[in-house]
Symmetry: C2
Subunit: 322 residues, 2 copies
């Protein structure tokens, strides 16, 4: 008889909901408070460990007349939704390297309702990211280092980056498949490398997957099996382009009794059926194509937003040019 | 450095397109000839090895006034699309145990344009299926034994069934995840058990996945990694309920130069954008729920076809009752 590890659960696993943060990349973070509050309440009812509401974006870079409050995550805006956050759930914001005036805009932990700062970095920004990680750590936050667009990083670069991040005060190192291009074998390899780098440091490893190839959930499962304990997911799989690992699938797999799938299904019924009529995400053909060619989804987003949105073959041929 | 097996390909792998067969379960096989011809031409252009057009359904069980030609796959109807099938592609039809008058309706191979008979069986129909397998084999066909609803089969039953099927003249044994409920670890276990049963017999092992949990493609990849060489897929993932493994994703993973992804993308652009407006398939929430509870999708299909199609929580609660 084969063993059936999926019947039990691993208590160390923690889930981060990034519905409002990654979903905000579709609509310039212009969500109404009612939706943000519904997602917050749902995450509490569902037993989710963290909720990420948006970015600490620099207003010099992102014009406030074009972006909603969740591009900046000011304390007052967060408190408008969560009050003093008396619930067990922790509040996360993302800080992009080179797009955050972190010394100014990230307040000391004791003045903030935020619990964790997730520093998002491309491979060429590692020194900046490390400075941001130190800054957030020194201010008293839990800190995550999210290494974006891994599918474009060379192996020897990754080894060096992981070596540097392992020596930083980051509490979590996150595998980010920004382009949704990774296969399960690649995810297992990355998970092993990240876990090896984290070994003995007390750091946890996480995964943030995109769903271009309908693999976001599958790849998250593969990372779990290898030992990854921090999982990103979104309600109804919302997120830029093809979207992310759907929370309603992930909670099926995680058998920890603290999780409650029904609350997520209720939220989808009450809010996401309508939201799907206003905003578009999912594994549409152009997103499969950008993933296939290991490209950022922005060209597919533009194409789907144009009058050529059904010209799949022309789009495919463009990427296949020499 | 890690090895990267996904860069190369395994020449033994063969792909079966069941777009018209499994898609026909959505619309009682009432496809127009133009679409069936387009799928046939696409499969040839894409280098797909087999195309499955429908069932050899018994007209005493399936009333001809309610079903299209592909419920029966009469020779004349197939020839109307494929002529004498001068292409390299092989023609498949499915024969359901207890729903096929196989002695009468399956003609000798030399009189038919069909190449392979795929016998679909539930665990309790194995003796009938073996008789059908022998009949088709004796008539000169390649024969596949497709063991449906594996997620409801007990381990000791499966061992016995595989023992019997391994002694039958079937050329292929297919893992069928009818309810779309299997996780990758389960698929790897099933693949190993099927391959062990097939060892030394010359039989190949195949997989037919459903996409309820967005795992049809991922599970097909896992089966490939373990050694499964016969893969079912459909254009745009069409198929009953949540649909099947999407051909446009699978051909990305299979690097055999004989395959041509562009032809599939062209077919989706030309035919499936419109088809998606007439027919519904995909990993909708009710299909996630039936998979979660290891149930046939029929209750979700009925619910989505009713005025309660958005009542996800009520549907979830129904299955969660004691």
């Amino acid at each position: 008889m084969t063993k059936a590890p999926w019947i039990d659960y691993r208590p160390e696993i923690k889930v981060l909901d990034c519905t409002v943060r990654d979903g905000g990349l579709i609509n310039n973070h212009l969500f109404e408070d009612g939706l943000v509050k519904a997602v917050y309440d749902t995450c509490i009812a569902a037993g989710v460990d963290y909720i990420e509401l948006g970015y600490k974006g620099d207003k010099k870079i992102f014009a406030p007349d074009k972006h909603g409050a969740w591009k900046y995550c000011a304390e007052d805006d967060i408190r408008r939704i969560v009050g003093e956050n008396e619930a067990d759930i922790k509040i996360s914001v993302m800080a992009d390297a080179e797009k955050t005036d972190y010394k100014r805009d990230i307040e000391p932990r004791e003045k903030s309702v935020i619990d964790i700062i997730r520093v998002a970095t491309y491979i060429h920004q590692i020194p900046t990211a490390v400075d941001m990680i130190k800054d957030a750590h020194d201010k008293g936050y839990e800190v995550s280092a999210n290494l974006m667009a891994l599918s474009t990083v060379q192996d020897r670069e990754l080894d060096e980056a992981l070596h540097i991040l392992a020596e930083s005060p980051a509490d979590v190192l996150v595998i980010v498949d920004s382009y949704g291009t990774l296969y399960s074998e690649q995810v297992r390899d990355y998970a092993k490398r990240f876990l090896k780098a984290a070994k003995g440091t007390g750091k946890e490893v996480g995964i943030h997957a995109h769903n271009n190839q309908q693999l976001a959930y599958a790849n998250t499962i593969e990372a779990i099996i290898v030992g990854v304990n921090r999982l990103d997911a979104t309600i109804n799989g919302i997120g830029r382009g093809a979207g992310n690992c759907p929370m309603e699938l992930l909670l099926n797999f995680l058998r920890n009794p603290k999780f409650n799938l029904r609350a997520v299904i209720q939220c989808i019924q009450d809010h996401f059926i309508d939201l799907g009529k206003e905003m578009e995400w999912g594994a549409l053909i152009p997103y499969i194509i950008t993933a296939h060619f290991n490209q950022h989804p922005r060209s597919a987003i533009e194409m789907l937003d144009s009058d050529k949105r059904n010209n799949y073959v022309e789009f495919y041929d463009r990427w296949n040019e020499a």
